[in-house]
Point group: C2
Chain length 296, copies 2
Amino acid sequence: MTTYAEKAIDRLIDKIDKLSNPTALGLDTRVEYLPPSFDVEKDATKAIFDFNRALIDATCDIVPCVKVQSACYEMLGLAGMKIFRDTLLYARERGMITIADVKHNDIGATAEAYAAACFGPDAAFPADFVTINPYLGIDGVAPFLTRCELYGSGVFSLVRTSNKSAGDFQDLKIDGRRLYEIVGEKTAEWGKNLIGKHGYSSLGAVVGATWPDEGKKLRNTLSHTFFLVPGYGAQGASAKDLAGCFDEKGRGAVINASRSLLLAYKKRDTGDFAAATRDEAIRMRDEIRKEVNIKC
Amino acid sequence: MTTYAEKAIDRLIDKIDKLSNPTALGLDTRVEYLPPSFDVEKDATKAIFDFNRALIDATCDIVPCVKVQSACYEMLGLAGMKIFRDTLLYARERGMITIADVKHNDIGATAEAYAAACFGPDAAFPADFVTINPYLGIDGVAPFLTRCELYGSGVFSLVRTSNKSAGDFQDLKIDGRRLYEIVGEKTAEWGKNLIGKHGYSSLGAVVGATWPDEGKKLRNTLSHTFFLVPGYGAQGASAKDLAGCFDEKGRGAVINASRSLLLAYKKRDTGDFAAATRDEAIRMRDEIRKEVNIKC
């Protein structure tokens, strides 16, 4: 059994500080992303895992964190779920903080079962953090928080997503405030027992980089809520767009990039896909360092 | 490859009509639910599957539908995911309509991957319907709808959940209407291309039986939206509470019960757990028939 003396959010922030790099490698790997050198005909899931492992090896000394999205593994069935788990485990073995991007949401015993799947000594798909969807209210969040306290785990709850239609519901106006602002405030309230040594809670928020004004507004009001920020790179957001998600100390957010890192080899003539990902991870880190006041 | 000439919602309604029974067997099976006759020490997942199979065998001639919740399988790891799939496949083999209760929510290529996991000829976890969470707006729903058109699949999107804290966000008031009403209207709008021969769409809504007033209100406004109704039995809702979810023809909803069916053997002195579940399924059916105008 792995035991944690520390809160998940403290481990994440310490690791970010150590590497002066608030970014995550998003392993949303698909068979069609792999370079031609991989034999995908023979064993596609093995090929995907080998690719993931190579990218983890190539970046784990400079990138603090991985985010592994479950969908592209789930669509490959049991063999896919196996490499979902193996990828999470391998990244942890290499010292990275792991986020299982599962966006779970349910209630009572069912939410407890989802939490048990990722948190605790018997977790089938162990991760430092998971993502959840808050539409069901506190009933869907509380079982995760209980395990966060017990096992030093953490959660990122959707607040403002990065997609175009995020506003369909998230922008609806309630007494002058947007729904996502209210969801953000509730997230902060629910997470107040999980605030760690850096002043941030192990219950964080997903805030899309594609919405710079909304990100800045949330940063100003949610001073104890750490942000997981998708949308950088292939989804169109730049380092300028996400600068508002950070606090005055250069903390408060981890920026995820998936396709721009996974497919870096297509834009670089190195002949080595993992080296290309490392180069792109360094370029991304340096671009964000330039926009955000990060101690180096 | 299984091909469907019909829309998922038409298959579901035809089956409900045939059995005059608008109910679903909720297979949220946990090892602690199994009767002592099962050897859970030796192989817990095999025991759970054997239990599920026995309940499917005991009810498939009177209950039209199963709902299989993914969390309690996922927490058992790969062996659990295998019996999640096997349970869905076995229920389909026995002629039941299957709902994979996964509450997925994501965007773009990731939502497509979740849809591919359950819908289509290569689905790893094949089901007639899946549940989804609509917080991300149409971007998270559209990839499912595309596959619904292609493969005759269906979706139930969360609108009003059955839990106590459903109102945390779902009851927020926007220009005099509640958020869940707006989500319901959007769901109806998004599903209008999937309306089948009975006037209902293959994009349905989850509406908790524990909120009778809200259920009735939604039934009156969403005339083409079929409801998946959790909350009956162990969660506290009675047949009276859910009567408002049906239309004047006695159609428009399927009522799920999980624990009251899975654990029926604890309240019945038959010595046969599967017979106890069958008895409870008949009692539940007859109680609902009494409250709702269902042709027998």
